[in-house]
Symmetry: none
Subunit: 353 residues, 2 copies
């Protein structure tokens, strides 16, 4: 049920039965406030999405709003999948990375790593991130992070994160315009493209890598690039996501070129959903093949074909694809013996209650 | 579903819900090249069986050949059972012991213990093993082995290993001629018996225990006798196999007599399949009752009565009985809540795809 996109199954097979810490990188970017740019959340409340996602994954409750984040068409957040797996085959721990949240998640007893990071601005006006300092925070965290389980699954919740990821990859010179995913089925090219174009215009006079990142990127992308480099292959890490996590790797790739170092990635992998892997509007494989280092890449052959719930069928129609580490969560479930049927029933249960 | 052959259920019950490291002892012996002596593999490619078995258990793929090892009549390798349990209720880890392989398994990220051991020769011409040195390698490994899970399941894949085990037991003076199992239903007595007779003739002038073992035995048997003695009851170990694992214990028994020591076996057990336990052509209970120490012995009351797959029905007809730690794998599955139905469906799935 776990399919290999790049590399061989050995890495993911060696994680079978092992316990993972599920780490959720959370951030707000002003980019999400551009009307119509994302459907990852409730209109007017988009900034709450990472807060609500993390509250729900940790506790089963959304506390900073009455209802769980749904998109306008009623596609429920992939946090349902991430939480569903946790109920059936629990992660060793869930830890939150506050990488610039407007509203801090209201959870206790869960480790919330804070770094004094503020939400970034919209990239069409310049994100205003001190990218070098932020990157360094990631590196320091990676160097000092202590893992008490067998490996780490790193997911994210960053509304309009695919827009900032696309802008970032293009700004870094990757020929990647048509390769990025979006949470929309009918990706609103006009709004996204205008935003990305504006972002790229802002950096026309910039040469420094970190200056560029600070203008067009988001906190999650920059911090995690530092985090992974800081870990220095010391732990097994599965990047749980689609094109946004691919962009973290694209940044790492440029930084490695910039700093002239080699990158050891034998303990690093990316795992995403079938919805991303088979998305006709994006191409994660092509993105990852732009890297100068090898990266184990997998997807989980899971869909909602066993469900009749209309909100879940929308996933299979391409309306939602990934997020909140859903691909990595599904991988973890499968590696611990869960069936498609069990996961489907658990997610359906959330929608009934 | 786990039945006691010797002793009480307490030992195996104390392992319920615990995580095991699945260790697979792999070896080639030239004995397997005698035509018609074994059906554990593809004719002409028998030597690949342990390599393919371990590749499949670890990764779900056979890499050193296109198709998974099947016997001439189409009985699939018991590795399907071992892998099937791993998918449903994963072992903590899978580790391989290379005890003289012609082809090294092509797997990464799995621990492959190597000891600079070469395949042994056919016992009808003398196996040519430096048994004392090999035994000592096992002892050293047992003394230094660090287990990160709750216990160890030790399985094997050694084509024509029942022939070398029978020869070994007879050479060591056990009255065991009719007690040993074979992977054949209609055991080809003439070829096996001729081979064993030749092996026994070769040692007519030998008195030293290790000289005898070096001529009639195989690497798996000798190394594991050392391994178990080297562990010195420090870890809980389940020998996952039938008459071959019984032979490891018969060797230990003779070495204990030879060296004059007492053997503590409170943390040691043997668990096999129903097909071995109820085999009318062999008698594992009688073999184990020849030991001067007690040994917890179990079998798992699993068969393929829930399947209609013709290849699996052959198991129930006595064509395949044990191997690749299948008995221990079934035990682990049952101890972790798997049903007969679940295991059957998973094994069937491999044959469909």
């Amino acid at each position: 049920m776990i399919k290999t996109i790049i590399g061989k199954p050995d890495f993911v097979e060696s994680l079978r039965g092992r316990k993972a810490t599920f780490m959720l990188a959370l951030s707000n970017t002003g980019t999400a406030n551009i009307e119509g740019i994302t459907q990852a959340g409730i209109p007017g409340m988009i900034h709450l999405t990472p807060t609500l996602d993390s509250e729900f994954v940790c506790t089963g409750e959304v506390r900073s709003l009455d209802n769980i984040a749904e998109t306008p068409k009623g596609v429920p957040t992939p946090a349902l999948i991430t939480r569903g797996v946790h109920l059936l085959s629990p992660y060793y721990a869930i830890e939150l990375l506050d990488l610039g949240l407007e509203v801090v998640p209201k959870v206790s007893y869960f480790k919330q790593h804070t770094f004094n990071i503020t939400p970034s601005s919209s990239i069409d006006k310049g994100a205003g991130i001190d990218a070098e300092a932020l990157f360094q925070k990631g590196v320091t965290f990676g160097q000092s992070y202590e893992c008490h389980s067998d490996y780490v699954i790193l997911g994210e919740s960053v509304p309009s994160g695919t827009t900032t990821a696309t802008a970032t990859a293009l700004a870094l010179g990757y020929d990647a315009k048509e390769l990025f995913s979006s949470s929309f089925k009918n990706v609103p090219h006009s709004i996204r493209e205008k935003t990305i174009e504006s972002a790229l215009e802002n950096i026309s006079d910039k040469n420094d890598l970190f200056d560029v990142l600070g203008s067009v990127s988001d906190n999650m992308l920059i911090f995690n690039a530092g985090f992974i480099l800081g870990l220095n292959n010391r732990l097994k890490v599965v990047l749980a996501g689609g094109t946004q996590m691919a962009c973290v790797l694209l940044i790492i790739n440029r930084i490695a070129e910039y700093m002239g170092g080699n990158i050891e990635t034998s303990n690093l992998a990316l795992c995403t959903t079938k919805w991303v892997a088979q998305d006709e509007y994006s191409d994660i494989k092509a993105l990852l093949e732009m890297l100068s280092f090898p990266i184990h890449t997998y997807y989980v052959d899971f869909d909602f074909s066993l469900s009749r719930h209309p909100a879940l069928k929308l996933y299979d129609e391409g309306e939602a694809k990934e997020g909140v580490g859903a691909g990595g969560a599904l991988m973890y479930g499968v590696l611990n013996g869960l069936s498609k049927e069990e996961i489907t029933r658990q997610v359906e249960y959330f929608l009934q209650s």
